[in-house]
Symmetry: C2
Subunit: 260 residues, 2 copies
């Protein structure tokens, strides 16, 4: 059973034959479900949880795919009835596209699915969600929600914030330069625009719901960028080379870990 927030999305899901039944009534959708997975911008979770909470079947599992996990536990947790198992999850896969048409069968293969069960979560339910993601081809790791939020702040949320920002900076340039930026976009800038093409609503919600970790990582990054600016201004070649060399080390580690 597929339930969406808008008729347009539901029609698309139906055309693509993504489910066997379709409804705009989320409460009705969950009544008979053994497993409910929320897939919406994380800012919409609280309202959805409030709507569906009373209708969840005893013994059912409720999970999600959101990129922030402390906020999800905060927003969904209070609406989960006794006897329903809440297993927050984050499949780290996706492209700059969104919506039903952006999915494809191999999306989760070889990617990590992070599961962040609150203390006391039913272990059988956690294992079922782990197995669900394994069968989609993912590698699974169980971790603390706060630690999850720190890690994704630097590997995913900050890079997205930076990509959105530099595209905005370019878009603000005087007209002639802006036109030439578009014309001569070299590989560096082009890669940033790919990231920056992601869904505004989803990322707005991610940023706001991982505020503390994101601002902490952005503050560290900003300090480092200012230190680099100072080194460029004063010609501190040793500092610049050292910082560039760090990038190569990280890249080499990623290649060794088969993540590049």
């Amino acid at each position: 059973m597929i339930s969406t927030r808008t008729p347009a999305t539901l029609a698309t899901a139906q055309r693509l034959e993504l489910g066997d039944e379709y409804t705009l009534d989320a409460a009705a959708a969950v009544g008979n479900a053994d497993l409910v997975i929320l897939c919406a911008p994380v800012g919409a979770y609280a309202a959805i949880a409030e709507t569906i909470g009373p209708h969840l079947k005893p013994g059912a599992i409720i999970s999600d795919v959101g990129s922030t996990k402390q906020s999800v536990i905060r927003d969904i947790g209070p609406f989960v009835p006794d006897g329903v198992h809440f297993v927050p999850a984050h499949p780290m896969a996706g492209t700059e596209y969104s919506g039903p048409e952006a999915g494809f069968a191999e999306l989760f293969q070889g990617r990590w699915a992070l599961i962040t069960p609150p203390a006391g979560t039913d272990e059988d339910s956690v294992e079922k969600i782990a197995e669900f993601w394994r069968r989609l081809g993912s590698m699974v790791e169980i971790m603390d929600a706060a630690h999850h939020d720190s890690v994704v702040a630097i590997v995913s949320h900050l890079p997205h914030l930076i990509a959105f920002t530099i595209c905005g900076t370019a878009d603000d340039l005087e007209n002639q330069t802006r036109q030439q930026v578009l014309k001569f976009a070299a590989s560096g800038f082009r890669d940033f625009t790919r990231i920056a093409a992601s869904d505004p609503e989803m990322w707005r919600d991610v940023f706001i719901n991982n505020r503390e970790a994101l601002l902490e990582m952005l503050a560290r990054f900003s300090e480092d960028a200012q230190a680099m600016a100072r080194a460029v201004r004063w010609g501190d070649t040793a500092y610049i080379e050292n910082r560039i060399a760090r990038g190569r080390v990280i890249r080499k580690s990623l290649i060794e870990l088969n993540q590049a």
Copy 2:
């Protein structure tokens, strides 16, 4: 005739059969050349120009492939004898790899080659360099060196500085988080590490030799990043969505211009 700064690079070029003659003596290499192209980190240009300047043949053209153009004109210009034509150029192509083994036949196809001749440069010589790059498959544009430096500061130099910086920021994290960053590098961060794997000496020289334009663009970016941080902190959803939407506009323009 190929001349390199180190015996190791010369041996590699020779093994790959990139030229017909090979020498470590740059002055000897240029004596009989109709066209000399400097391909070294731009910080090495002044010393090379001083070495080869007196040996350049009357009527010869000297060009280059450096990513900064005002500094190249400043560093090479004084050593170009009367009757030798100096045509600075910047083929906007390349990967994160460097050295003789990183080249391939299609590298310049469909990419821009920017030519920035100082006022009064011999027009026939400019056209010869333009035709050289066209025959390698590039599109050619002639522009002012200062304008070139502004445009590449935002499309290429700033994205590289940012990528180096965020990799360094990640590398500085506490050990457990750092390990997990490597383990869970999502697409956002992974794309940054590819850029960040570039040659430290080359990029150190680019940053220092395009200092003014780079610091100007970094300052604009930093202001924008701080404004985004403030919006995240205070939950200014309209601001965040607007900035994210800008990224999509830029991306769409690139796709329309066939640069994505």
